[in-house]
């Protein structure tokens, strides 16, 4: 594996209540690094409909401290599996509105295959292992969002 276990991690995690500055994060990942041949970015956005109901707003709760540790484990595993030049994960918490970006995962590497694999790996594991919980404010009252079976299936694709 090309990953140097003793080398510094190339990944960075931010949990914030402020909006995500997508352009700044992507620019920083590629700036001044002419070894980067591919940047793959996943942006997860708040939709205004869920399970047939109109959603007006959302509150994102998390477990401070554990959130960062859980994400760090996922990113360390991604760096072990693929040869990456940079990874950024930014997740919002607090109040969100439809069309707001909830999470960004951006991965830089020399070649596109590694960037695609690592980006999808990180979001798949974030969805099942990072302690965030969504509460939706809908026309039928407030409700906690239930975990989707599709998300644990998505995680299982990656083996152990």
């Amino acid at each position: 594996m090309p990953y140097n276990q003793e080398g510094p991690s190339v990944s960075e995690i931010v949990i914030q209540s402020e909006p995500i500055d997508v352009a700044a994060i992507q620019d920083k990942l590629r700036a001044n690094n002419p070894s980067v041949g591919a940047v793959v970015t996943f942006l997860g956005l708040m939709r205004d409909m869920n399970q047939g109901d109109q959603v007006f707003s959302m509150f994102l709760e998390h477990y401070p401290g554990m959130t960062e540790k859980a994400l760090r484990e996922i990113l360390d595993e991604a760096e072990r599996r693929w040869d990456l030049l940079g990874v950024r994960v930014v997740h919002r918490v607090g109040e969100l509105s439809p069309t707001d970006a909830i999470v960004l995962v951006a991965v830089a590497s020399a070649h596109r295959g590694e960037a695609f694999r690592a980006c999808e790996f990180v979001i798949d594991f974030l969805k099942t292992r990072a302690p965030f919980w969504k509460k939706e404010r809908t026309g039928n009252g407030d409700r906690w969002v239930s975990a989707r079976h599709g998300d644990s299936d998505a995680e299982k694709r990656w083996g152990e």
């Binding site: 999470v103 969805k127 969504k134």
Partner: protein, 81 residues
């Protein structure tokens, strides 16, 4: 003592976010103790409920041993991202 945290739906239904309890040998013993409180506690920590847990901020299962001073959290399946 063991610090116990509750998040999201659990925190709301149990009407508490954190408490301290006497040390017990493992997560299973802790869960049994909480269930024995009855009412909402019996329901949430009863069989067939999908409650996740962490010990010292790492995902844990019922066999995970506990030590005095540990931080345990109980929460519903996560739904971030």
């Amino acid at each position: 003592m063991i610090k116990v945290l509750y998040f999201a739906r659990l925190r709301e239904e149990l009407k508490t976010g954190s408490e301290s309890v006497a040390a017990v040998p493992d997560l299973r013993s802790l869960k049994d103790m909480l269930r024995a409180r009855g009412g909402d506690w019996a329901e949430i920590f009863g069989d067939g409920q999908w409650v996740m847990a962490s010990v010292n901020q790492k995902m844990a299962d019922l066999d995970t041993p506990l030590t005095d001073g540990d931080e345990v959290a109980f929460f519903p399946p996560v739904t971030g991202g």
